[in-house]
Amino acid sequence: MSATTAIATMPDAAIASWRLRWRRFRRHHAGMASLIVLVLLLVFVLAAWPLQAVLGLDPNATDLLSRYEPPSALHWLGTDDAGRDELLRLMLGGQISLLVGALATVAGGILGVMIGLVAGYFGGRADAFLMRFTDGVIALPLLPLLIVLGAVDLTKLGFSSEFAHSGAAAFWRVVIIIALFDWTSIARLVRAATLSVRERDYVRAARASGGGAGYVMRAHILPNIATPIIVAGTLTIGRVILFESVLSFLGFGIVPPTPSWGNMLNNAQELVTTAPALAIYPGLLIFLTVIAVNFLGDGLQHAFDPRSNV
């Protein structure tokens, strides 16, 4: 079901409650400010294409004769260690970082929702096993494991050497390995929420009238636990962006020449002494994005929780 038909088929009561939430959200100053900041960031990273066309710049063409140039009419933020336009790479890198954040959150979210739903709905052995498994994953030293997964040689898994060393492989690998670990908070939350609605009358009625487990979960449970999932998902995006940036920074994430905010700081130790500004920009953008996402999540939580007073 697409988004528009979802809204079209929504009962009036649901539309009214979303309107109320929007009103409550608008009164949350930090949340509103974050929303504006995020929209501006989106505009910023998408401006890469018009900028590229207007100034006629190539983001990957290296020019060793114009390294670390100061800002000029052609290079608004100057050039980096390989003579490439810093501003353009910041914009393109932002596209990659935000895309990884969104994709890994969605993938991990789907995984977490499925695990949490099954554990909460069926209970018993399945619940015990899945929750022990979740606890086990939470207990792992995350970053060292992500680095090992980032170092895995894909040709040993049967992929062609050509694919294994391509930028696309690096991109999807980051998305997948982060999603593989960052589903636990959503799974626990979905399980708790499922437990709380599982025995409500409308769910029991649906079961009594012959609804299968898959149908009941999809039609009756999921829509009623959607709001905490949205809030947790928002907070996950921030964490994922941080993971992507540190992995790319350490050399196990997005690989150059494809820019990401993390790998633009690869040679940061050199930048600190030769071009401090270049060591600041990418990190500042990561910081700004993640803090805005986190405040947005905070605002959503206030708006969705009828007990909180904004």
Partner: protein
């Protein structure tokens, strides 16, 4: 209680065993193998000799069998030889573990001190300017990329102000305790700031909840002073869930230590794992990762036990 500890310890041992197999397989999937690494120093070797070497080292055997042999040696305390350091893995790991413990404990202490004071201050007047400011600081701590925070601190305090050294653990030739301390300041502050944000939020939330409880109202009603109400009646109760969360965060602390040690060139376990993975030092990477997992599992166990010990309402079975 004794039975509970025993069962949890057994559980942790099983998780560690499963993890050792997973990590062993993953390390096997890293680029190259020990023979490839050896070959780079022996240009005149024939293919037959390579095959013989693979056989001697058992690399032609199936994964399960190789893992079984590794496990047998590991149980006897033999974790193999580190290629990068040219010494047995355990001998290399010992000083690194001590270094990481120093860093983690110092950061943890600083962070607990900061977060408890700021969290309580925020909770006393929710919605005030003070609360908003502390809340913003907490959010900033959660949202900042740790490696970039390290970079900014290096830029400000080492490159611009020249107050503190940017990397390493001591100055050659200088020596002395003061010198060691100066090298610890930036790494400890970086790691502490990285975890303080979420701690503040936990302390504040827990404190606000406790201040709403009946026994606080009773204490106020019988005329206890505000200072006594906050510090004795509320604070001690608010601390119970906080202690658990803090102990549980040790795994995250280790991830932070890896970044901090790499940024500040501190010879700890985190940097050692990173260098081992970069330098194809399979034995060292494997053992380092296992130790990291062990530390995390132990801290989780401690968290559970601390919870039961602090809160008599919790009965462990």
């Amino acid at each position: 209680m004794g039975g509970y500890i025993l069962r949890r310890a057994a559980q942790a041992a099983v998780v560690l065993l499963v993890m050792s197999f997973i990590i062993y397989s993953l390390i096997g999937l890293m680029p190259g193998d020990p023979i490839d690494v050896m070959l780079s120093t022996m240009p005149n070797i024939t293919p037959e000799q390579v095959a013989r070497l693979r056989h001697v080292y058992g690399l032609d055997q199936p994964l399960m069998l190789r893992y079984w042999h590794w496990l047998g040696a590991a149980v006897r305390g033999d974790f193999g030889f580190s290629r990068l350091h040219a010494a047995p893995v355990l001998i290399v790991l010992g000083p690194a573990l001590a270094q990481t413990c120093r860093l983690m404990l110092a950061s943890f202490t600083l962070s607990v001190f900061l977060s408890v004071s700021l969290g309580v201050l925020a909770a006393l007047r929710p919605g005030s300017w003070r609360d908003t400011l502390i809340g913003f600081f907490a959010f900033a701590g959660i949202s900042v990329p740790v490696f970039w925070l390290a970079l900014v601190l290096i830029l400000v305090f080492a490159v611009w102000l020249h107050w503190l050294p940017a990397s390493g653990i001591s100055t050659v030739g200088a020596g002395g305790f003061g010198d060691l301390l100066r090298h610890l300041v930036l790494p400890v502050v970086t790691l502490a700031l990285a975890i303080t944000g979420q701690f503040i939020r936990f302390v504040r939330a827990s404190m606000i909840e406790t201040l709403r409880m009946d026994h606080i109202r009773t204490a106020r009603a019988k005329g206890a002073g505000e200072r006594r109400v906050v510090l004795v009646h509320a604070f001690r109760n608010a601390l119970i869930p906080v202690v658990t969360v803090m102990a549980l965060s040790f795994g995250g602390l280790f991830s932070g230590a890896l970044i901090t040690e790499t940024m500040f060139a501190q010879p700890g376990v985190g940097k050692m794992i990173y260098d081992a993975i970069l330098g194809n030092d399979y034995n060292l990477a494997l053992t380092g990762l296992l130790f990291a997992t062990l530390v995390t599992l132990l801290s989780n166990l401690v968290a559970d036990l601390a919870y039961a010990w602090l809160d008599p309402r919790i009965a462990l079975r």
